[in-house]
Subunit: 570 residues, 2 copies
């Protein structure tokens, strides 16, 4: 474990502070950010009332450098701690914390790939929060497929480049929270190969920091703000680089290897986005639990008193499933962070290598599963609130609106599933996931011996693990033969893996937990997970095996809709 | 079949006109209704630009009286035709068509339960669309549980009553589309028994229609408008009845039997809301199909041309599942309408009785399953659109926002599931659903003989039918022993029934379809349904059997959230 140097008390103190920041600073801002959003005032994006003050408080807490190395002013704490803190912040206000997620990812990316000079000039001010960062990949014709990126970079004086091109969907692309904004921009050098192997990553600041301390405005401009379903407080910008001749930028990492550098940013962002899912799920679960404890419907004939809806069986089912899903998503995401910590800090090279392969596999599963869980749990919170859930003032509808984008950005969940099957489970990956499954199966058997009351639940866990193992074999075999057909089942496979592995980490936590009360609470969640959540794995396994092994004709399926014939005739 | 007197050409002409109305009048208004919503101007709700003109065009088409009896100016067409037309209108604009749904339900309720005098004075103007209607049940303390209704009705002169009380969540409770609004209000007469057996239904007009033709303002006022997640064009009102002494109303049906009369309205509304689900699912599917055919990502190395995302396996999976779900939801809802038609028009009393029992069972399944399908398919449409799906301008986010309330109003989907298990499957109901299952199984076997290429798909259908049969036995047995525990599985059971019965009606349609092209299209949808949709039934069956038969401890499951201990300590 990378966190071996930290004692439990220190960890608890950090988490308590992170939670206090979420509760006292972010949460009170969340409604205003949704209501007021951000607006474009000439070339400048203006944020909502209180956003700037809240940001200053957050930055002053030193939170942006929590996991950054000490050389750049950070605290070098493990990813596990950072991820746990992110849950609090995203639960407090996802639209607020979205900006920080990008700065944190940029700090890591620059630290790993940029030159010493760039690091010295830009990273400490990101760590202090005086400046913030963005990730500028997407273009109108290049969404999920970055090989189509058209932004150009021409060599200029002093190792710099002149960047020209437009980017869209840039979160926090402009705002008034900080004096400078550092854009990490994917662009193409002259004569670069076509496709994604010709992309380089550039640091393009809104204002250039001269070595003498002067700041010079760069040729970077926000030319539009999106009106979105949610996350109104997080400005989503269309950015123009180099309209006036060229935005000055510097290459980060090797020329034409921009995607490799960007992967550092994306992996950091993917885990952080998984934590958005966990955070919103926790907040939605708490909101539903509170409402259901207070809202009365029906009269108890014995006492003559109103019955809280939490006692009605269907509401109970929803509450228990929300709590189960939130818990297994949290264990999955934090265990992914733990694998990253072990990859970086394990003493033995072979342990680091295994941990890296585990982190590679777990990251897309955590991103896909936890974000979908956040959306689903927020959706169920609306249902628990009944008619009140549909009223904006109640606040749970905002949770759903805010969460909805998490399954789309930082690589859609479909892309995560394809990454899992097409890249992560090929080669060594298969044996890594099979080893994980073996370990989980041993945990389940061990706990069943110790805890007879959990035996039924644990036999469900073992069933799910067996399905996951079978499906991993089926899907990798099918992928080798006919990738297209196999990838139809990629998303269901990711979900099967998320449900099963998340629950298995919960089982593991019970086996190692030393606090009896906490162990009992987790044991109760395991019961509900087995009863209400894990049965879904049976259907998923059936779907995967069926589609990977049969000769289903994926020929054209006609629309029976009123306009289909007309469209077809065109 | 109730529609025996109609030839195919007439039906097609009616549907074509209903579709044209949706396309040419409702659809162009839909965005404006969402953007402008409705506003409260003093005591008067003002609708969005164009709403009134659109309503006049719609009413002038005679659509509100499509299924009303000829005595009141209607066309006495079957419910099946009305339901099919409603799909078009809700696909065009759910917020617009929501108002009509209520007027149509009120026409039916008044025709069945009101006195001849009330019918003569009010119903023809509802049929012509000069006036509209509402359904005023909910009060702040009485949501799903109507036994808590506190609105009072005091006898007054000429068989009238004075109504005093407040109602909330009244769709189209006030607006400027018509000169009068007829409220159907649940209230309590003096000395009425407590609970739901003491409720009477009253007709309370916004303006009283005197026999000499004069109109007198009644003591009815809109005192608030909700700001909702969606359906902004449909004003959701808080209504005050009798603030100035009493709103004049007349009883509809027998005193203290208001719930029975209201059930007519609710059943009509439940089927109509199911059609909202089908309508929004169809529109979302078409939107996603169109986008996925046009949006290019990646380059085909053989042709050098962009690849439409519809060819990417994960997008393909989503599109096929959307089309499958939309189709089986449509078959389920239209077959429910058909059962209602057979209940009313079958020659033999025993056929009418069987049809009534079928309609009773199918109505909650259709309401629950089709509304959830509308929400889910709209959600998937957002995902297919990627980042564009999160931008309001694209329009698919609005579909989701508009659809989200359908699983809540007209009885939450949890209430539908409880109604299915607790009322509809007790007694005779069980054998009715078992007979349906037997018939569906025969259809599947018959089609498998005729169509060998569908054999795999049909064996999946038979598996699902077997699961549904087993679970119907399990859940009714468990309900008799421990209702609370059994009801935990009510919602999963409703979903299992919806998936299985919807698909079975699709199979039946294929077996009776005489148009070869149509048969092939439906056959292709059956393949995808079996491959991508039906596997879910395996997981649902496992969940139901597990929870109905095991000794799962539904004791308190503790929150692991940060605030849980604090809340518990209070």
């Amino acid at each position: 474990m990378g966190s071996a140097v930290l004692d439990g008390e220190t960890v608890e103190a950090i988490l308590r502070e992170a939670g206090a920041m979420a509760r006292d600073v972010l949460l009170p801002l969340d409604r205003t950010l949704d209501r007021q959003g951000a607006r474009l005032d000439g070339q400048q994006v203006r944020t909502a009332e209180g956003h700037r003050a809240g940001y200053s408080t957050f930055a002053a807490g030193g939170w942006l450098g929590l996991s950054a190395s000490e050389e750049v002013g950070g605290q070098a704490l493990p990813q596990t701690i950072m991820a746990a803190c992110q849950e609090f912040w995203h639960a407090g206000s996802m639209a607020f914390a979205m900006g920080n997620l990008l700065t944190i990812g940029a700090i890591e990316t620059l630290h790993q790939h940029a030159s010493a000079d760039l690091i010295a000039r830009y990273v400490p001010k990101l760590v202090s929060g005086e400046w913030s960062a963005t990730m500028a990949l997407t273009e109108p014709a290049a969404g999920s497929d970055l090989s189509e990126v058209r932004t150009r970079a021409e060599p200029a004086e002093d190792d710099s480049y002149l960047i020209r091109g437009n980017k869209i969907f840039i979160s926090y692309g402009d705002h008034d929270l900080t004096d400078n904004i550092i854009h990490l921009v994917l662009a193409r050098m002259p004569e670069a190969p076509a496709g994604s192997r010709g992309l380089s990553l550039f640091l393009v600041p809104k204002a250039i920091s001269e070595s003498d301390g002067r700041m010079i405005a760069n040729d970077v401009r926000c030319i539009g703000l999106e009106e979105k379903l949610g996350q109104h407080g997080s400005p989503t910008c269309s950015m123009a680089f180099g309209e006036q001749g060229g935005a000055v930028g510097w290459v980060v990492g090797q020329p034409n290897r921009g995607l490799q550098a960007m992967f550092t940013m994306m992996n950091s962002a993917r885990l952080a986005v998984a934590m958005q899912g966990v955070g919103v799920a926790e907040r939605a679960t708490q909101a539903a639990e509170k409402f259901a404890a207070e809202r009365l419907q029906g009269i108890d004939s014995r006492t003559g008193r109103g019955i809280p809806i939490e006692q009605h069986p269907d509401v109970r089912r929803m509450l228990k499933a929300m709590r189960s899903m939130t818990t297994i998503a949290r264990f999955l995401a934090l265990s992914t962070a733990d694998a990253i910590d072990r990859e970086r800090k394990s003493v033995s090279a072979s342990n680091r290598r295994t941990a890296k392969l585990q982190a590679d596999i777990l990251t897309p599963i955590a991103k896909g599963f936890c974000t979908q869980t956040g959306i689903d749990v927020a959706d169920t919170a609306i249902q628990v609130h009944g008619g009140m859930g549909y009223i904006e003032e109640t606040g749970v509808a905002q949770l759903w609106r805010d969460a909805r984008v998490t399954s789309i950005y930082e690589g859609t969940n479909g892309i995560q599933a394809i990454d899992l099957i097409g890249r992560k489970l090929s080669g060594e990956g298969l044996s890594v996931i099979l080893d994980l499954i073996d370990g989980f199966t041993r945990d389940a058997k061990k706990l069943a011996l110790r805890s007879p009351e959990s035996r039924m639940a644990l036999s469900m866990v073992e069933d799910s693990l067996r399905h996951l193992r079978d499906c991993a074999h089926h899907i990798t075999t099918a992928f080798a033969e006919a990738p297209g057909a196999a990838l139809v089942t990629a998303a269901p496979f990711l979900r099967l893996a998320g449900l099963t592995i998340g629950t298995s980490f919960l089982v593991r936590a019970i086996t190692v937990c030393e606090d009896e009360g906490q162990q009992a609470r987790l044991g109760a969640i395991l019961q509900f997970t087995a009863a209400l959540v894990l049965p879904e794995t049976m259907g998923l396994a059936r779907l995967i095996v069926l589609n990977c092994s049969s000769e289903l004709s994926y020929s054209d399926i006609a629309s029976t809709g009123p306009d289909a014939d007309a469209r077809r005739a065109k």
